[in-house]
């Protein structure tokens, strides 16, 4: 049986739709279920629903054979997993944003983010020394109340930024969801995984 770690929230529905397009028989009530572990006996599959950031952890440790995770999470976590397919779903990008016309504080530049690793790498590459402040949500708040001059976050439509009076300043990387696989499972269940990859690859929308 294959165990697949799915991210709760934004990516979940698109991922389920993709699996259905690849002819996986997922029960109709799949999306509504509040269970964290869902077995789909017909497909010999088990789905676990996890926080997007945790999907990579489940897969790296091998409790899930496969997972669906955003490139943003993969960049942040740098886990030892195979990144086999770009599923081309949940498209967004990682960006630097801030209040319009406000420069970086020259004395103590601060950046708030849910992605400290990505943010730190990005600013180091630019040769800028900044202090990274890790937040767990509502990142847009930070510039508004003076916690940070900049934020690093994912942007999909840009609406959240706009509603909070922020503007995108720099684009760091494009993000889509990826199919990731545990290295041991990739070796031990090679054929089953290959079939799944082929079926998914056939229905991935071309960019």
């Amino acid at each position: 049986m294959l165990t697949i770690a799915m991210p709760k929230g934004r990516i979940f529905e698109e991922a389920v739709e993709l699996l259905r397009r690849a002819d996986y028989m997922l029960p109709p009530e799949f999306e509504e279920s509040r269970k964290l572990v869902i077995d789909v006996a017909e497909e010999n599959m088990r789905f676990i629903l996890a926080k997007p950031m945790d999907v990579v952890t489940y897969v790296e440790h091998g409790v899930a054979d496969l997972g669906i995770a955003g490139k943003d999470v993969l960049m942040e976590e740098e886990r030892n997993v195979y990144e086999l397919l770009d599923l081309q779903i949940s498209r967004c990008h990682l960006a630097v944003a801030g209040l319009p016309g406000v420069k970086m504080n020259g004395i103590a530049p601060r950046v708030a983010t849910k992605y400290p690793n990505v943010a730190s790498t990005y600013f180091r590459e630019q040769g800028e020394q900044v202090e990274i402040i890790r937040l767990n949500g509502s990142i847009e708040l930070a510039p508004l109340i003076g916690l940070a001059d900049r934020i690093v976050d994912i942007v999909s439509t840009g609406r959240t930024l706009k509603e909070n009076g922020l503007v995108e300043l720099e684009r760091i990387a494009d993000v889509t969801s990826r199919l990731i696989v545990n290295p041991a499972s990739y070796r031990l269940n090679g054929e089953v995984i290959e079939r799944l990859v082929d079926r998914l690859a056939a229905v991935i929308p071309q960019p």
Binding site: E60, H61, G62, V63, N80, V81, Y82, E83, L84, L85, D86, R178, N182, P183, A184, S185, R187, L188, G190
Partner: protein
């Protein structure tokens, strides 16, 4: 008084091994060491501390994962991060005098600093072999077969060895991309297991569609001898062909050894950016998400100790191996004799007799025990020698 927070704490990533786990480790270690010796390998020991400049930089382990310290003269030292580099050092300096093949084995703790998730072990036991001075494919076949034999001996039935050849990857990249710098960019994607990034990068290169396809096809070269045929068709250079031929010879030899069932080729396997020079492999087992061991050919390492020689070997991680085997009942080996003062002589005599037979026997005075029920749980059996002779109970 200040609270002593770290009373039971150990440095990050360091662990105690309690008797239960120790017994399991011991059995696995013994079984494997015995088999390794049967294949004619000789065990050696090297120091825990080595110079950073020699062993530290020669090792396959990334710099930021080394534990470093200074000695009294200000030299930088490292806690050995692997055993291959120290063995190469010893072999180059002492043992490899007549340039004939040398078979060495080790069983030692190695140290690698962990940055993520505090509890991951930073010190762990490895058992492995190095076959130095034999550049033939038969040497590669021997170490892979020996590794498989060890895993079978310790009761692991389901494992998988992924085998690749870095020489093939390099030859293919060089012939299509033209220079090492570009090849290295592409190799990094494979090393990071980022096939999506690899494909994107290949598509962004100014190459003919045929060459792009050749690079993309590399990712699907997996399986048995049919993968070698496909691999040969993909590469034209002599080095590439030779690498593919080596893999064919390897598979044939592994078949003779009777271990080919667990072996799967993966031409895109890159387990290190620069360390390996030829055939390389990783081994995986069920129940463990991480590789339980790896190895390969490292023909450039001994040259770093001024004594160029081909070499190959593997290392298995004992902690992950035990996880893969699962809990086995290794308790209950020990017997206990509980005695009272007047029966001391009898107890000593009995204990000596049992020990002479090779049994493990505890001798315990009755008044030293607080809770006899809890105490007796610990042992396989208990003999009571209490009161005057003739009135003892079992």
């Amino acid at each position: 008084m200040a609270k002593r927070l770290f009373m039971f704490e150990k440095p990050l990533g360091m662990r105690d091994t309690l008797p239960f786990l120790y017994e399991m480790k011991k059995q696995v270690r013994r079984t494997m060491a015995e088999e390794i010796e049967r294949w004619g390998y000789e065990f050696i020991e090297t120091p825990t501390l080595e110079y950073y400049e020699t062993v530290g930089t020669a090792s396959a382990i990334a710099d930021h994962r080394l534990f470093k310290l200074l000695d009294q003269q200000g030299h930088t030292l490292v806690l050995r991060p692997d055993m291959t580099a120290p063995i190469a050092r010893v072999a180059a300096s002492r043992l490899y005098e007549d340039s004939n093949p040398l078979r060495l084995a080790y069983n030692a703790n190695v140290f690698r600093a962990q940055q993520r998730e505090g509890g991951r072990p930073a010190e762990f036991e490895q058992i492995g072999v190095e076959l130095i001075g034999d550049g033939t494919v038969m040497a590669d076949a021997e170490v892979i077969s020996l590794m498989a034999a060890l895993l079978k001996r310790v009761g692991l039935s389901h494992f998988s060895v992924a085998v690749g050849h870095i020489g093939y990857v390099n030859a293919l990249f060089l012939e299509i991309l033209g220079n090492e710098e570009r090849a290295s960019v592409l190799r990094r994607f494979l090393y990071e297991k980022n096939y999506v990034g690899y494909r994107e990068h290949v598509k962004s290169l100014p190459l003919s569609s045929i060459d792009q396809k050749r690079l993309l096809d590399l990712l699907s070269l997996r399986g048995g001898s049919e993968a070698i045929e496909a691999a040969k068709a993909l590469v034209t250079s002599e080095e590439g062909q030779r690498a593919a031929d080596e893999l064919a010879a390897l598979l044939a030899a592994l078949k003779t050894y009777g271990v080919s069932e667990a072996v799967k080729l993966d031409m895109a396997l890159v387990s290190h950016m620069s360390y390996y020079t030829g055939i390389l492999f990783e081994v995986y087992a069920e129940q463990v998400g991480f590789p339980i061991g790896n190895g390969g050919r490292y023909d450039d390492l001994l040259a770093k100790f001024s004594r160029p020689a081909p070499a190959t070997g593997f290392g298995l991680r004992v902690d992950r191996l035990i996880e893969a085997i699962g809990e086995t009942d290794v308790r209950g080996e020990i017997e206990c004799i509980v005695f009272s003062q007047e029966r001391l002589a009898e107890a000593v005599e009995l204990a000596e007799a049992k020990r002479a037979e090779g049994q493990r026997v505890v001798l315990q005075h009755i008044t030293g025990i607080r809770d006899i029920d809890a105490y007796s749980q610990r042992y396989r059996s208990i003999v009571y020698l209490l009161g005057r002779s003739g009135h003892d109970g079992q």
